[in-house]
């Protein structure tokens, strides 16, 4: 089975967000990681290939330097990677680039994280399913593959939905699907020799008039600290305050 895993490099979850200008988030001194949801997708791909045989190919749109992060994905056990180098970050362009490169490569299954923790867009898997005209099962917490079908458990707010689809398909995974492995020393060494294919794409100028700017949060919270050494008194004060704030 040939599995493509979509991988996005994101800021580390601990990263402090600073602005260079209202239209630019600073990348200075930022540590990068693989989007945590994509790690679940890599792990799931590795498990499927361990069972059925095949190949796991990571596919990413990012910076030239994203190769360092991508290599940490190869160290988990993926076979090779394709890195589409482009300044594009909007979901429409990213999905288009991915669709082009993936359809050239060919595949049986595409796995991805359902959302990226940086832009919070959650659009690429769905856009790709439309572009490639293959079914998408979204926010999946369990995959069971048999010869001719895939059964997915999908998290849908207050319900779990069990969905059947076939190959080829794209499955966007949610935390809970597995516990990603850590890279072994052997795999880290091997990863250095694995192939990353670079594809260079021009950033397409957007047709739509859209203006994006950013704001970093300053806490506007009241920050009132109540001493709890006399618990009953503290609780009475708290309830008073909540009534004043008109939330009770």
């Amino acid at each position: 089975m040939k599995i493509i895993v979509l991988v996005k490099e994101t800021f580390d979850t601990e990263a402090k967000i600073l602005l260079e200008s209202p239209n630019n988030i600073s990348q200075k001194d930022v540590k990068y990681i693989i989007n945590p949801y994509d790690e679940f997708a890599i792990e799931e791909a590795l498990r499927i290939v361990e069972k059925f045989g095949g190949e796991v190919i990571l596919c990413s749109v990012g910076r030239e330097d994203s190769q360092i992060t991508i290599r940490s994905g190869l160290a988990l056990g993926a076979d090779r990677a394709k890195l589409i180098v482009s300044g594009a970050t909007d979901s429409i362009t990213v999905s288009k680039f991915l669709a082009q490169s993936i359809s050239q490569e060919g595949f049986d299954l595409i796995l991805a994280g359902w959302v990226a923790i940086d832009d919070n867009n959650a659009q690429v898997p769905a856009r790709l399913s439309e572009l490639l005209q293959i079914p998408l099962v979204n926010v999946v917490i369990e995959i069971e593959i048999s010869e001719d079908k895939i059964i997915c458990r999908r998290d849908s707010d207050d319900k779990i939905e069990i969905v059947e689809t076939g190959l080829p398909a794209i499955i966007a995974v949610q935390r809970g699907i597995n516990e990603p492995r850590y890279p072994t020393v052997k795999n880290i060494l091997q990863a250095k020799k694995k192939k990353i294919e670079f594809l260079y794409m021009e950033k397409i100028k957007e047709k739509v008039n859209i203006n994006i700017s950013y704001d970093v949060i300053q806490s506007k919270r009241k920050g009132l600290l109540i001493d709890g050494s006399s618990p009953q008194k503290a609780v009475t004060i708290l309830v008073e305050k909540l009534k004043e704030a008109k939330v009770l």
Partner: protein, 327 residues
Amino acid sequence: MGRLLVFVEHKDGCLKKISRQILGYFSNTGGENDFEITAIIVGDSIEKKIINETASWGADEIILVEDKGLINYNPLILVQAITEIIRGKNPQLVLFGNTALGKDLAPRLAQVFSRQMVSDVIDINLEKEIINFIRPIYGGKAFEKIEISSNNLTFVTVRPNSLESFVNCYQTPKVHKHHTQINDNLPYLLKEVIKKAAEEKSLTEAEIIVSGGKGMQKAENFKLLEELAKVLGGAVGASRSVVDAGWMPYSVQVGQTGKTVKPKIYIACGISGAMQHLAGMSTSQVIVAINKDPDAPIFKVADYGIVGDLLQIVPLLTEELRNMYRE
């Protein structure tokens, strides 16, 4: 005249809160800017009650997509039906709640039309020429402000409990039916639906959330939070450490890799306030923290904090509120 298309979600004969919020918000702000609201209601048999409620929240027009084949959610059928409706109505905005359904349908539709989608917005400002959106990014550590010209078709999902609430404003909408041809041989088949346990329900829609962290010390102590949540009519959430320890199910995890919530009151008990936890709750209206460590980072984002032992404080708080509601 512009047009807003709102996908209405309903359950047990009532509109979901997020659908009331979207309709109420736009029926009160849309009119001034010459926008009409078309609501889409989908179901296998749509009760009159749901149509009336949609009307009472200010829809100018209601389109019913009613078919036995729609008893279960299938994104392929809904994408087809909504695509047909969009082609007929030429709206500027197509709005969904940022719910399981909205998150799944909106990006598919956005790609059918090769248009922009603005995900998980917490504020929308509609003007004649321009629409402004605000949405949290980087786990709520920053906000993205997006300005789009109002004559482009744009898809939007709205975070529950975000839009300013408005009163009903009853309209007498035109009600139409839209028929879509359902193909029986779709490559996506819903086999079964399993309801989650009641206590796991709708964390994202809850108005009050009582959340516990590692400081709860053991699974049994979550009973204290359940009692508090019951008095408040709220839901119980948890930090990842608690989920990892197996004290609570993953479905109630709040944070970067769990649920994002925006209740009126978020009460964090024995939660240290790690960045990844804050990512899921920092846009709550009022944050209360109970923690024995006065230097816990959670106090930096809290409106009200009690420094003390939660095992003493939580039961007293439950009792105090119970007395208050009894009066």
